[in-house]
């Protein structure tokens, strides 16, 4: 009985240890996976700045969004806030898209993994201007 009990405790300890090791290993592997995924994931906008003549005016630019991830999957680039889809890709680990930027203020873009439903990277296109905003009638004067 003692033996049996002893044997039983040894087995129980072994099972608990195994489960712990497996859980730990799996968590570390997942964290590593996540780190690898996000640390080597890139999303960039070119040009990253759009210049308008006057503050408040809508700025227009043809912008390239370039992205890269270490593992193939399904991804989409969204415009943040409005959640407008710029483009989606299936079984891809990198690509680029040219789109027409139209805004009077800075807009942000997110690269989202559709499989995991997580945001992997962000970038933005700033809007700047040559002349500060002036009242309507003073537009005809410079300042």
């Amino acid at each position: 009985m003692y033996f049996k009990l002893g044997n039983g405790t040894a087995w129980l300890k072994l099972v608990i240890l195994s489960v712990f090791i497996l859980m730990t290993t799996n968590t570390i592997a997942q964290e590593n996976n996540q780190n690898i995924l996000t640390s080597t994931t890139t999303l960039s906008a070119t040009p990253a700045n759009c210049v308008a003549l006057h503050q408040g005016r809508k700025c227009y630019a043809s912008v390239y969004l370039l992205w890269q991830v270490p593992q193939q999957g399904d991804f989409c680039i969204y415009q943040k806030v409005s959640n407008k889809i710029i483009q989606c890709w299936k079984n891809s680990k990198g690509s680029q898209v040219l789109f027409e930027f139209e805004s009077s203020e800075k807009l942000e873009y997110q690269l989202v993994s559709i499989d995991k439903n997580i945001v992997l990277a962000e970038t933005s296109v700033d809007v700047s201007w040559v002349h500060k905003a002036t009242p309507r009638k003073r537009r005809w004067r410079l300042f």
């Binding site: 308008a52 005016r57 700025c59 005809w140 300042f143």
Partner: protein, 283 residues
């Protein structure tokens, strides 16, 4: 004539001053800002033709233009260089004072150059050759005028009407009525200005520039008395930002003169073209 005009100016000034006293903080946003300024440096290539014979730019150096454009505003007083017109570099800035400022119209006292003069000696030096028709001709000064400008503002356009006397500030006698309309067409990052102007010059103004008096008679130049003239102007001017400090601009201006101006021995043609392309640095 000039006394009457000056008297009229004084009356309007007095009326306006008392009106402003009653309403010191005019509702207009213009009066709310006491001081503002802006400076720009312009570099441009220009090609222009002139109605006066021999005034042509033939060397590359004469095409290149560098200019500093300053704008100031202080309590109704202003200096402004109209950056949206092709002839800004030749006529310079305008000096003025806002008499009445309402939401959609304005009345200013304005001092500006209405006609660029010419010195025949300089013209020949620049051309690096003798131009017989200009030899012995007296210098024509710039026509600086003082007058009133009525401006009417619309959503995307402006109309202005200047009535100015030239005599008090320059050697040119006479007066000018200058109407100008400008419409802005925004296209993507471009500002495109479509401008049209109609200018009336009195007899003595035109005679000063293209008339030939007794002292200027030569075998090539008969005595000539010119009369009033009308100028029409069509212009397209466009600006596009390059960066936060640089602007690209391009303009084309075409002028036609009507009257007996073409009968003057020193007038080569009755139309003048100006093409410019350059950059502006905004400080």
């Amino acid at each position: 004539m000039y006394k009457k005009l000056m008297f009229l100016l004084m009356i309007i000034l007095s009326v306006s001053s008392s009106a402003n006293d009653k309403k010191p903080l005019n509702e207009s946003t213009v009066f709310n800002k006491t001081f503002s300024w802006q400076a720009q440096a312009g570099f441009s290539l220009q090609h222009s033709t002139n109605i006066i014979e021999g005034i042509e730019r033939e060397d590359l150096g004469n095409y290149f233009n560098i200019s500093i454009l300053l704008d100031f505003y202080y309590k109704g007083f202003f200096i402004q260089s109209d950056h949206r017109r092709a002839d800004t570099h030749t006529l310079g800035a305008e000096l003025g004072y806002q008499l009445i400022v309402e939401d959609d119209w304005e009345l200013d006292i304005i001092n500006k150059s209405y006609i660029a003069g010419f010195d025949p000696v300089n013209v020949m030096e620049i051309a690096d050759k003798n131009i017989p028709i200009l030899e012995g001709l007296k210098t024509r000064d710039t026509a600086d005028g003082i007058g009133l400008r009525y401006s009417r503002y619309f959503e995307e356009s402006i109309f202005s009407l200047d009535v100015a006397a030239l005599a008090p500030l320059s050697n040119v006698n006479g007066w000018v009525i200058d109407a100008f309309y400008s419409h802005i067409v925004p296209y993507r990052n471009w500002d495109i200005y479509i401008n049209a102007g109609l200018t009336y010059y009195s007899d003595s103004v035109i005679d000063y520039y293209v008339g030939i008096d007794k002292n200027e008679i030569s075998p090539l130049r008969e005595e000539f008395t010119a009369h009033h003239a009308l100028r029409t102007q069509f212009e397209v001017f466009a600006q596009h930002p390059i960066s936060k400090s640089w602007i690209f601009n391009i303009g084309l201006s075409q002028n036609y003169y009507f009257g007996d101006i073409g009968d003057s021995p020193i007038v080569d043609r009755e139309n003048a073209t100006q093409i410019m392309m350059g950059v502006l640095y905004v400080f």
